[in-house]
Amino acid sequence: MKLKLSPHWILLIPGMAMMLFFFIVPLGQIFIISFFKSQPDGAFTLENYSKFLTDSHYLKILWRTIWIGFVTSIVCLVLGYFLSYGIARAKAKYQNFLLLLVILPLLTSAVVRNFGWMVIMGKKGLINETLLALHIISSPIEILYTPLGVIIAMTHVLLPFMVLVLYPILSSMDLNIEHASENLGASPFKTFWLVTIPLSLPGIFAGTLLVFSIAISFYITPALIGGPKVPVMATEIYNQTMNLLNWSYASSIAVILLIAVLLIISIYNKMLSKVSNQGGGL
C-alpha cells in the first residue's frame, strides 16, 4: 500500500515528531494542571488565571517582562546592525575572527559573567567610581538590581544572537547593488536607508523575533542582575515552581506568557509584511 504524502509533510515529519514527543506532550501535562487547584485532589478551576489577570501586581510583572524584552530587542537590533554591517564590510580575512569575538560572551558561565556586571554596575562599581571621579554625579546611581541593569546585561548576552542572524544576510548581500545606488548619486546614508535596510528586512525580522523571544523567557540574567526587586515572568514562574511548589499557578503564568507573546508576534508579523510589501514596491 502506498500512502501519498505531499512533500512538505514529509519534510515536516521528523520535526513534528520531535516536537510532539519532547515538547507538546511533556509541556501539555504541565499546562493541564494550570486548570486544577494545586492540592493533589484539586478540582477544575480557572482560579489560577483569574488570580493573575485581576491582580495589578502580576499584570505589572507581565508588562515589565514585555517592555524589557522590547527595549532589549531594539537596542540589540541597533548595535547588532552596526556590528554585522561592520564585520560584513571588513576585510575577508578578519571577518571570521571578528565573529569569533562576538560569540565569546556566550562561552562564559552566566554566574561569573554576572559577577563581571556586578563589578561594573555595582554601587561601588567601575561606572559609579568613574562618574564620581569625573564629578558627573554626586552620589552613586543604581544600575544593578534595576530594569536598566537587566536590559544592559541582557543586551550583552543576546547581541551575539542578533549578529549571527544579521551577518549572513548582510554578507551575502550583493555589494553591486549598493555601489549602483551610490553611482546613481545617492548619499551613503540614503543608500543605507533605501537599499541596504530593505534588503536585510528578513534578517531584521528574524533577529528581533529571536531576541525578543529569548528575552521574555530569560531566567538567569534577570534573576542575578535584576534580583528579587525586578521580578519578571520567568523569575516568577521559577519562584512559584521551586519555592512554593505551586505548579498550577506557575504553569498558568507560562500559558499567559505564551499567549501574550504569540499575539504580539503575530501583530508584528502582520505589520512587517505590510511594510516589506511597500518597501518592495518602491
Partner: protein, 356 residues
C-alpha cells in the same frame, strides 16, 4: 564562508572523537562495577566543599562498610524537592537532603516516607530537639541564623538584631529575599521581635519595611551575598553560621554573631524518598550520618554543628560555631507548618513590598 564551515566541521569532528573516547572509558568503568553486584544508592548533596566533605567522611566509609555504591547527585534543597515531586512514585533519588524547612513541604506533598526505627537506631543518641517531625529523618547537623558582618568594616560586634538598623551601616545592609529560607526566617524573626509570630506576621512586614531604606540590595542567593561582601557593597546581613564559616575559610574577613534576642535554628536533614526501591540501604545511610565520628569529621570540615550528644568538637571550631545542646535549645525554632501554609501569601506580599 567556506573556510569557516570547514573550520566548524573540523571542530565538531575533533570534539566528537574526544567525547566518544571519554564515553568508552566510562562504559568500561561501569561494566567492572556491575560485575561485583554492589547495592546502589542515590543520594542528593549540596555541591562544592559541602559535598566534598560529605563524600570523604560519609559516602566513602559507608560504601566500604556496606559494600554499596553510593552515587551523589548535586541538588540544592528546592531543586531536589521539585525533582522528587516531578518523579513522584518512581524516584531516581533514594535519599534526599534538605537545608531546613523543605522537609515539611515534602511530607505534606507525600514525597518522603517515614524512617525505619529498627534501622535508624542512632536516633537515640541525638538531641531531643533535633528530631524534627516524629517518625521522619532527624537533623544530622544544625547551625544558626544570626548576623554576618565584615570584621574590617563593622567595628563593634553586633549584639542585637536591632544593630542592622544602625545609621552607620545605612546603604550597606544585605536584606535577604524571602525566596531564600534565611530571608523567610528573618521575616518571622522580625515578627517575633515585634510581638508577632508565625500566625501574626504583620509586625514582621512593618519591621522589614523600616529596614528597606538601609538595604544595599535585596539578596536572593548565597553566591550573590558572597560577592556583595567581597565587593564591600554589603557589610552586614542576617545569614547563617555555616556560610559564615565557609566564607571566612575562603579568606573573606567575615565574622558571625548570635544576637542577644536569640538566633534561629537551622536543621539540615536527610529523608527517605517515598517509593524508593532501596529503602533498607537508605535507612542505613541516614543511620550512618548520625554516627558521632561521622558528625564530628563533618563538622570540622564544614562548620555545621553535630546533633549527636556524644560528639566533642575541637576547641578551635568550638570558638567559631554555635554548638552543643544548650545552644541548640536556646535557638528559636520555627513553626514550619504554619509558615508553609502562609508562604504563598507572604511571598506575594513581600514581592509587592519590594518590587519597583
Amino acid at each position: 564562508m567556506k573556510k569557516i564551515s570547514r573550520l566548524l566541521m573540523l571542530m565538531m569532528a575533533s570534539m566528537l572523537i574526544l567525547a566518544a573516547c571519554s564515553k568508552d572509558d566510562k562504559e568500561e568503568g561501569n561494566s567492572s562495577n556491575e560485575a561485583s553486584e554492589k547495592r546502589k544508592l542515590v543520594v542528593s548533596s549540596f555541591g562544592g566543599d559541602y559535598e566534598a566533605a560529605q563524600m570523604e567522611v560519609l559516602v566513602k566509609p559507608f560504601e566500604e562498610e556496606f559494600n554499596a555504591e553510593v552515587e551523589v547527585v548535586t541538588l540544592y534543597s528546592a531543586d531536589a524537592l521539585a525533582r522528587i515531586k516531578a518523579q513522584k512514585g518512581s524516584p531516581e533519588i533514594d535519599v534526599v537532603q534538605f537545608s531546613g524547612g523543605q522537609e515539611i513541604q515534602a511530607i505534606n506533598e507525600e514525597l518522603v516516607e517515614e524512617i525505619d526505627s529498627s534501622i535508624v537506631k542512632n536516633i537515640s543518641g541525638i538531641y531531643e530537639s533535633a528530631v524534627l517531625e516524629e517518625g521522619y529523618g532527624p537533623a544530622m547537623a544544625f547551625d544558626a541564623l544570626g548576623i554576618l558582618y565584615n570584621i574590617d568594616l563593622v567595628k563593634d560586634v553586633p549584639t542585637s538584631w536591632k544593630d542592622l538598623w544602625k545609621e552607620e551601616y545605612k546603604g550597606n545592609v544585605g536584606v535577604i529575599d524571602i525566596s531564600n529560607t534565611f530571608g523567610l526566617q528573618f521575616l518571622v524573626m522580625n515578627a517575633l521581635l515585634n510581638e508577632g509570630n508565625e500566625d501574626n506576621i504583620d509586625p514582621g512586614f512593618s519591621s522589614i519595611e523600616t529596614l528597606l531604606p538601609h538595604a544595599s540590595s535585596i539578596v536572593g542567593t548565597t553566591p550573590d551575598l558572597g560577592n556583595l561582601f567581597a565587593q564591600e557593597e554589603v557589610v552586614i546581613a542576617p545569614y547563617d553560621s555555616g556560610y559564615a564559616f565557609n566564607f571566612s575559610k575562603q579568606g573573606q574577613p567575615i565574622g558571625f554573631s548570635i544576637p542577644e534576642e536569640g538566633g534561629m535554628a537551622i536543621f539540615i536533614n536527610m529523608q527517605v524518598v517515598k517509593g524508593t526501591k532501596n529503602s533498607e540501604l537508605a535507612n542505613e545511610f541516614i543511620n550512618y550520618s548520625l554516627r558521632p565520628e561521622v558528625q564530628k569529621a563533618f563538622a570540622e570540615k564544614t562548620g555545621f554543628s553535630p546533633t549527636n550528644k556524644d560528639v566533642k568538637i575541637s576547641v578551635d571550631l568550638a570558638e567559631v560555631i554555635p554548638h552543643g545542646e544548650e545552644v541548640m535549645d536556646s535557638l528559636i525554632k520555627l513553626d514550619w507548618n504554619t509558615i508553609n501554609e502562609n508562604k504563598a501569601e507572604w511571598t506575594e506580599r513581600w514581592s509587592k513590598l519590594i518590587s519597583q
